[in-house]
Each structure stands twice: as C-alpha cells, then as structure tokens.
C-alpha cells in the first residue's frame, strides 16, 4: 500500500498570499507611490489631477490589457506604438476626407485587427520570432504613418461625437477612463473565466502540451496579436479624439510604457504567469510616477531616468522577493 507523502496543510490565508504575491506586491508599490506624491505635492491628490491622469492614461491601460495576453503566450508586440500612430493618422485623414466618425472608427478597428492578424500570421504560422516580426512592424507601420501624413499633423474638424469620446465625461468621469476600465474588466473575465483565456495560459505555459490535448495552438498565438491590434486601434482613436488631430508622431515610446506596465504587474516574459489585475495596477503606477514627477517640478529630462530606475527596481524586487521560489511561511 503506497501513499503520497503529504505536507502539513497550510492555512488558507498563507495559501492565498502565496498565490497572489505578485499582485499584492505591485498593489503595495502603487499605494506607496500614491502616498509619496500625496505627501510631497499639493496638487497630486486632487480630483482634477487624478481624473486627468486616468484620461491621459486610458490608451496605455487598454493596450496593456491586450499586451498581457500577448506576453502570457511568451510573445511580445513591439509595434503597438506604431499601430497607434498609424490608426491615429489614418482616422484623421479619413475624417478630413468626409467620412463620419462612426464609419471611420469601425474601419479603424478592422484595420487594427488586420495589422495584428498579419503580424500574428508571421509569428505563429511562419514561426518567425515575435521580437523580429514586431520590430519590423514597428518600423514599417510608423513609416507608413509618416508617409501618408508627410509628417504633418492633420486636424479633425466638426466631429462633436468623436471629441466626446476623448474629452467628454459621464457622471464626472472621463469617457476614455470608463472605456479603459471596461476593457480591463472584459480582459480580466476572459483571462480567468473563459476557455479562450485558459487556452492562452496553456499555450504560454507549455505549447507542446496544449497542442497534444488538441488545442488550436497556432490560432491562439495568432489571435493574441489580433487582439493587440484592435486594442491599439481603440487607443489610437481615443488619442485622436482627445487631441483633435491625427499625427504620425503620436504614441512615441508608447510600447515601452505598455510593456513596462505589464512586466511591473508581475506578468512573466517567459509566458504562462500573469494577471490583468496586476497589469492594471502596473499601468496606473507608471502613469502616476510620470504625473507625480512633473508635479514635483523635477526636470523633464530627469523624469525619464527616474521612471526607468523605478521600473527596474520594482521588477527586481518582484523577481527576488516574489519570484517562483518565493513562499511565505518558509524560512531560509
């Protein structure tokens, strides 16, 4: 008679802490940042400022949710900033040529999906590394945006409904922020509670195992890039609606902000491990650091350095303290 040896059962609280260590760590870091800027500036903790942060940060949050799915499959999408710029410019050009904003928006969502699908096809069906495909995409798509706008910013005129998307409020809350929260909630539910979400995690965790149990592994990998493209289209439209113009120079450095938000949120670049909640907190942390440093009158040149250092430190702490080997209640 053989039995498996069993360890003493841990308390539920400790188990829960262990399972959620990554999210808890970023949540603590987020609260610490909030406290820091609240203490050191008069303006940070005001409704007006916080609403501004979420309005401006909505595109980052939306794309970071999609990027979480991409990174969960152990992939990466470096082209998100370029897709946002392309959609941003294209939308302005279409509206300048007499299309109404609803038609334009639908076409732009489709365009984002097509661009994402194209990248996904090269990655999953042609087996080219995601890093290479999206690096090329980053250059090509920004190039197209520059080419069609010839570098000019294109104004959007007389589209009240469209401007409301970027500038309006609903019950005092900016519309972009509401959209971003909706996207995050949908992403959260898909990741945790649907078969598709389970398939994304499985493919990222063990591609071969997913294939052997009959999951359409290639399609799943391809689909996350399509979702990323659609999220970028939403972000591009929101930026155009807020600024009232389309430009090929929109969203420069956007991909770094998005990837930093996802990684800060505890999602592993090796795939399989991550959470939308962590990503949301990561994105908010990045946004308030940027905002808070400006309010502290730190030189804008220093802001970039400080942001980078904070991200590096946070991720370092995350992997050292809360990495795979971490277990509460275990000494040594």
């Amino acid at each position: 008679m053989a039995n498996y040896t069993e360890r003493a059962k841990q308390s539920h609280a400790v188990e829960w802490l262990n399972d959620n260590a990554q999210v808890l760590s970023i949540a603590l870091f987020f609260i610490a940042c909030m406290g820091f800027f609240w203490a050191l500036t008069d303006t940070f903790m005001t409704t007006g400022n916080l609403l501004n942060v979420v309005r401006q940060g909505a595109p980052v949050l939306i794309v970071a949710v999609a990027m979480t799915f991409v990174i969960m499959t152990a992939g990466i999408d470096l082209a998100v900033g370029s897709i946002v710029a392309l959609i941003n410019a294209l939308a302005a050009i279409l509206m300048a040529n007499g299309f109404d904003w609803v038609t334009t928006s639908v076409m732009m969502l489709a365009a984002g999906a097509v661009v994402g699908l194209a990248q996904g096809w090269f990655i999953s069906f042609q087996g080219i590394a995601a890093f290479i495909v999206t690096l090329a995409g980053m250059s090509i798509l920004r190039g197209i945006a520059l080419y069609i706008t010839e570098g000019y910013s294109i104004p959007i005129k007389d589209q009240a409904g469209f401007f409301w998307l970027g500038r309006g409020t609903l019950a005092g809350i900016p519309v972009p922020a509401i959209l971003a929260v909706l996207v995050a909630i949908i992403g959260f539910i898909i990741m945790r509670n649907t078969r598709y979400g389970r398939q994304v995690v499985a493919v990222g965790s063990n591609l071969e195992a997913a294939r052997r149990v009959g999951m359409p592994a290639r399609w799943i990998v391809c689909s996350v890039y399509m979702m990323s493209g659609i999220a970028c289209a939403i972000a591009g439209l929101l930026i155009a609606a807020r600024l009232g113009s389309g430009s090929s120079n929109a969203a420069v450095g956007f991909e770094m902000q998005v990837i930093a938000a996802v990684v800060l949120g505890g999602t592993s670049l090796m795939g399989g491990r991550g959470s939308i909640l962590g990503t949301a907190l990561g994105a908010l942390t990045i946004l308030i650091i940027g905002n808070g440093l400006i309010l502290m009158h730190v030189s804008p040149f220093l802001t970039q350095i400080v942001t980078g250092v904070i991200i590096l430190l946070a991720v370092w702490m995350n992997t050292r303290l809360f990495g795979a080997g971490f277990k509460l209640g275990k000494k040594g």
């Binding site: 008679m1 053989a2 039995n3 498996y4 040896t5 069993e6 360890r7 059962k9 188990e15 399972d19 539910i189 509670n193 649907t194 078969r195 389970r198 995690v201 499985a202 990222g204 965790s205 063990n206 071969e208 195992a209 997913a210 052997r212 149990v213 009959g214 999951m215 399989g272 491990r273 795979a324």
Partner: protein, 256 residues
C-alpha cells in the same frame, strides 16, 4: 526464418478480442527505418510491457498507437474495426490515451485545470470551475490519488504528484487503452510504488495498459506480458509468468 518468427512469434491470442491490434506496421523517417513490420495486440485488463534498448522503436510504436505518428504501411484495428488515425485527436476519440514521458502539464495552471486541459467544462460562455473542481475530486479519489490542494498550481507539486496528475488525466476519461512512456523513470521510491499501484487499479477496470520502461523490476511487478523490440522489430513476446529477468535481459540485448 518464417514470416511469423521474424515478427517475434506472437503468443496465441486468448478468447477476448484485442482492444488494439497492429499488423505489419512500418514507418521510415528519411533513411532511418524506425519500424520494420511490427505486430502487436493489446488485450483488455492486461498490462503489456514494451521493452527494448534506446532507439529500439518503443516510443515510436507507442506514438503510432496514440495517433502522433502515422505509419507508412500496416493496419491498426481498434476493437475489431480497422481505423486510420490522422492525429492524436482521432486516437483520443477512440479512447486511446497516452501519458507522455515529459508529462505535458501546464505548470502555471492549477491541478483542476490540468486534469481538464483541452476538455474544459463550460457553463454558458464561462468555465464551470465549480463543476470541474467537483469532478476532479471524484477523479482523483477513484484512483486513490491524494493531492492536498486542487487549486494549487502544478509547478508547486512534487515529481510524483505531477506524475499522478498526468496519469489521472489520461485514466479518467474512460480510456480503453492507456499508454505510458517511462512513467516511473524520474521518481523517488515511494512515488514509484504509488504509480505501480495506480497501474494495477486502472488494469482492474478492464483498461489495456501499455507500459514502456527501462525498469525491469517494475515489469515483473505489474505486467502480464512483455513485447521486446530490437532495431525496429519485435523480436519476442513472453508471458511474464513464464519468463525471468535473465531471459528478458538477453532478449533486449540480442544476446540469445
């Protein structure tokens, strides 16, 4: 040498129809003759050991049964009906399950999720976590597998527990044939015992088990019959009751 002798002189079949029978299976990878005409029967409720040195063709043959490889020629008959597998899903739909040497578990998914991997239960558009947890508990209880917490991620479990989950996954969806490739190779002593008693319990339910292993002591513990492969052919078949370790070793090394 007659045709039958070349294929290892099959033991006269008993009264039951075999769950799976392979006849004259040939498979070539480029210029490498992986399988050179193999016959094999898997009977219900028995454990068949597939033995042989490395590169003898054991794993290749098991992958033919599980639909991962498609043979160049030869026939596969499942319960009297000739079939042609085009992939692992075909074999799965005929209740042939395989436990892979590398287990094929997803480390970042919990025990329940791994047991239901690729067969998730849905409630409307969402996963039915409650039903899956309840079914998983029943599945593991039926096989007397004890895992402290079913919502723990698989990466936190020991080698033996992971092995047990891989076997439970294959054994729980009413398989008729269960193929296990080296299920005990990386396990501690207590864990090996658990896997062996698990094999006996599965066998008792009438499942035909194919066990690929290098651990001959395991063969004498749980198997009823052994087929010995050498250089892509089946060179011998013995009832375990009528043979001994020495003979098996000689057959494997070709020193007879």
């Amino acid at each position: 040498m007659s045709e039958t002798a070349q294929r290892g002189g099959a033991i006269p079949p008993n009264s039951a129809t075999p769950l799976v029978s392979l006849r004259d299976i040939r498979l070539t990878f480029g210029s490498h003759q992986a399988l050179r005409g193999v016959d094999l029967d898997v009977m219900p409720g028995e454990c068949l050991a597939l033995l042989g040195d490395n590169a003898a063709g054991k794993s290749t043959l098991s992958k033919v049964i599980s639909g991962t490889y498609i043979p160049d020629s030869g026939t596969i008959t499942v319960q009297g009906e000739e079939v042609r597998f085009t992939g692992p899903n075909d074999a799965r739909s005929r209740n042939i399950e395989m436990v892979f040497q590398d287990l094929a578990l997803c480390d970042h998914i919990d025990v329940v999720g791994n047991l239901f991997l690729g067969r998730e239960l849905n409630k409307g558009p969402f996963l039915d976590q409650k039903a899956m947890l309840a079914r998983a508990q029943e599945m593991l209880e039926a096989l007397e597998i004890r895992i402290p917490r079913l919502t723990a991620r698989v990466e936190k479990l020991s080698g033996g527990q992971r092995q047990a989950i891989a076997i439970a996954r294959a054994a729980s969806f009413q398989p008729k044939v269960l193929i296990m490739d080296e299920p005990t190779s990386a396990l501690a002593v207590a864990e090996v015992e658990a896997v062996l008693s698990l094999i006996n319990r599965v066998k008792a339910k009438g499942v035909g088990v194919v066990l690929i292993t290098h651990r001959l002591q395991d063969v004498f513990r749980v198997c009823d019959r052994a087929a010995i492969m050498y250089e892509g052919t089946k060179v011998a078949e013995r009832m375990i009751a009528d043979t001994n370790l020495e003979e098996i070793v000689n057959l494997i090394t070709g020193g007879h």
